[in-house]
């Protein structure tokens, strides 16, 4: 019957059209586009450079005790170089890299993914309020496609931003790990794809029945920053108290950030990388399944 209508469709028809609609709101709006570029730079500058963790452990930041008789100059130099070596030892032990900026700027990638997917969840509420959702629901486009277009657009945005973060971070002095090559970047995009699918499905599940922006906003704000800081994005989990470590251990952002670090700046631990991918992959599949089931059930007027 649809042939008579000039329609030829697969189950996924409309997916790219709806995804591109979301993306156009971003790349066709210069201000929003610019802000999404500036934001990671700001954060990297503020957190990565202002929190100069490495400097804390440098010889110059440790006042030398006054010892009688006073140390001779060669002794002082010796002590200085001992502390200097200590600094990189401490950094290596704590962060797995000698440069906190490298550690942190890579953590930014997961951070950006979290915020971008959050806004894709919010756009479901806007579509409902402005009537666009009703319009889409009255067409034969699959309900799952409506949801998945949001997921996909958030994912593509995040991947673009991640690429940008890497470029900017390199300009600011990111040090790649010993076995880094360009293929690793693809690995970063892959793990990012998985986490974005998972996170935006979760956020959409929160917003799917909402007609007001305030309620999901409050919920999302409540979980967002704890999710961020109860992960290894800014600080290694091993120095956290036990209860926080327990949260960080189930937090998919921890695994995402670890995977990105393994790929970019660490001396890659392939077994750990496999664990990271498996964990985030399972999270993505479970969350997306829940999202799609909810969309069949609850995506009505």
């Amino acid at each position: 019957m649809s042939e008579a209508n000039g329609n030829s469709k697969s189950r996924l028809h409309g997916l790219w059209a709806l995804t591109n609609r979301e993306l156009k709101k971003w790349y066709k709006a210069p201000v929003i586009f610019l802000l999404s570029i500036i934001q990671p730079i700001l954060w990297m500058g503020l957190l990565g450079k202002a929190m100069n963790v490495g400097a804390i452990f440098s010889g110059s930041s440790i006042p030398m005790p006054q010892i009688n008789p006073p140390l001779t100059l060669p002794q002082l130099q010796q002590l200085g170089s001992y502390f200097a070596g200590l600094q990189s030892n401490i950094m290596q032990g704590a962060f797995n890299t000698t440069d906190y900026f490298s550690f942190m700027s890579v953590g930014m990638i997961a951070f950006t993914a979290l915020f971008t997917t959050m806004f894709s969840g919010m756009s479901v509420v806007w579509d409902r309020r402005l009537g666009f959702l009703n319009k889409a629901l009255s067409t034969p486009v699959s309900r799952a496609v409506i949801i998945f277009s949001k997921v996909l657009s958030a994912t593509l945005r995040s991947i673009f931003q991640a690429g940008l973060i890497i470029v900017i971070a390199v300009a600011f002095g990111l040090q790649f790990g010993p076995n880094f090559n360009l293929l690793n970047i693809l690995g970063v995009f892959a793990i990012l794809f998985l986490i974005c699918v998972g996170l935006s499905s979760v956020f959409i599940a929160i917003t799917i029945r909402s007609t007001r922006i305030e309620t999901p906003m409050a919920v999302v704000n409540l979980i967002n920053l704890p999710l961020m800081f109860a992960s290894n994005a800014f600080f290694p989990t091993k120095f956290m108290p036990d209860w926080l470590q327990a949260i960080a251990k189930v937090n998919p952002l921890t695994y995402t950030t670890d995977a990105v670090r393994q790929l970019l700046i660490f001396n890659t631990d392939w077994a750990q990388l496999a664990v990271d991918f498996t964990y985030v992959g399972i999270f993505a599949v479970v969350a997306a399944t829940i999202g799609i089931v909810l969309s069949w059930r609850f995506l009505t007027k």
């Binding site: 409309g14 009255s138 007609t211």
Partner: protein, 333 residues
């Protein structure tokens, strides 16, 4: 031959288990007609349309569009209908053309076909000159026309219009009516529309159903409904505070007299002859007629006859309506 395009049987929607928005509504719409759903705000018009366009599941009852069950074969229904919603649903950040193409994509129409149709539709609704402008720069009338174009992109056999002229000024409203008439003529479509403008239903619809509190109170062609009232309407007031209904009733051609807020609503055949007779008769009894008007029946009189209140009064109970709508919103959450 009259082919049933839309058919409902006992269609019911209850929100939140106690708020009955649509109450056992049964009607059918035949091929090629413009069918109007008329009623005050909150009467259940939009809820009915939302069930027919498959975005709301009925609580009870059945309905079909072109033979497809709205609950079981909803995707078939979606393929053959076009929808022009009450709100402006076009994406403000996209241009007019992009919006039409987006709609086409949601129907799975190939890009080539979509572009041809978009061009035709932009011509039809006279938006060709604005097709590359962002929708946020459009006026209300232009947006409404764009919605119309979007609703037509899949060449629907049935077009649903929910309050197509809500919030438009008089000229734009008349222009929209012309588009709707053109659509019916050019595409031979069946149109289902809701409105709370009586004159709009009168001017456009082949048949109307008057709906109140979720129930259909009367259904038929506007002409028949008006004639069914049995004549013209004379409204008069007298100076004295006495009930003269009985003496008016005795006058020739007078069919019915109702006292309503201190004035008399008199139904009479040959109103232009009967009115002077009434004035004469009242004067003889020593009463002074202060006001008199003579109207041929409109749908408002039909509405009044069947619901016991004027459509405008019904509209005035907006607070009650607002409360109801809030309750419905909450029920959705």
């Amino acid at each position: 031959m009259s082919e049933e395009v839309i058919k409902t049987e006992g269609l019911t929607k209850v929100f939140n288990k106690h708020l009955t928005a649509v109450d056992h509504v049964s009607f059918s719409v035949t091929h090629g007609e413009i069918f109007g759903f008329l009623g005050p705000n909150g009467a259940g018009k939009t809820t009915t349309i939302n069930m027919l366009i498959t975005i709301l599941k009925p609580t009870e009852g059945k309905a079909s569009v072109l033979g497809f069950d709205i609950a079981k074969q909803n995707n078939n229904v979606r393929n053959v209908i076009g929808v022009v919603p009450q709100e402006y649903t076009a994406d403000e950040d996209l241009t007019g053309l992009e919006n039409i193409l987006l709609c086409a994509d949601m129907y799975g129409i190939s890009r080539k076909v979509a572009k041809e149709r978009a061009q035709d539709l932009l011509n039809l609704v006279e938006l060709t000159d604005f097709k590359d402008k962002k929708v946020q720069t459009f006026s209300g009338g232009m947006r409404r026309r764009l919605e119309l174009a979007c609703g037509l992109v899949n060449r629907p056999k049935v077009l649903f219009l929910d309050e197509p002229t809500l919030g438009l000024d008089v000229q734009t409203r008349t222009a929209t009516w012309n588009y709707i008439r053109k659509l019916k003529k050019e595409y031979g479509m069946t149109l289902f529309m809701t409105t709370h403008y009586l004159e709009e239903a009168d001017a456009l619809c082949d048949r109307v159903a008057i709906i109140d509190h979720g129930k259909i109170v009367v259904i038929g062609p506007p002409e028949d409904l008006k004639h069914g009232l049995g004549g013209d309407l004379i409204t008069l007031s007298i100076k004295e505070d006495v009930d003269v209904a009985e003496s008016i009733q005795k006058i020739e051609h007078v069919k019915d007299v109702k006292k309503d807020n201190g004035s008399y609503r008199i139904k009479a055949e040959y109103g232009e002859i009967t009115a002077p007779l009434i004035i004469e008769a009242l004067r003889k009894k020593g009463h002074t007629v202060t006001k008199l008007s003579l109207t041929e029946p409109t749908l408002n009189e039909v509405y009044l006859e069947y619901t016991g209140k004027s459509m405008r009064d019904a509209e005035e109970s907006r607070e009650a309506f607002a409360a109801q709508r809030m309750a419905m919103r909450r029920a959705h959450q």
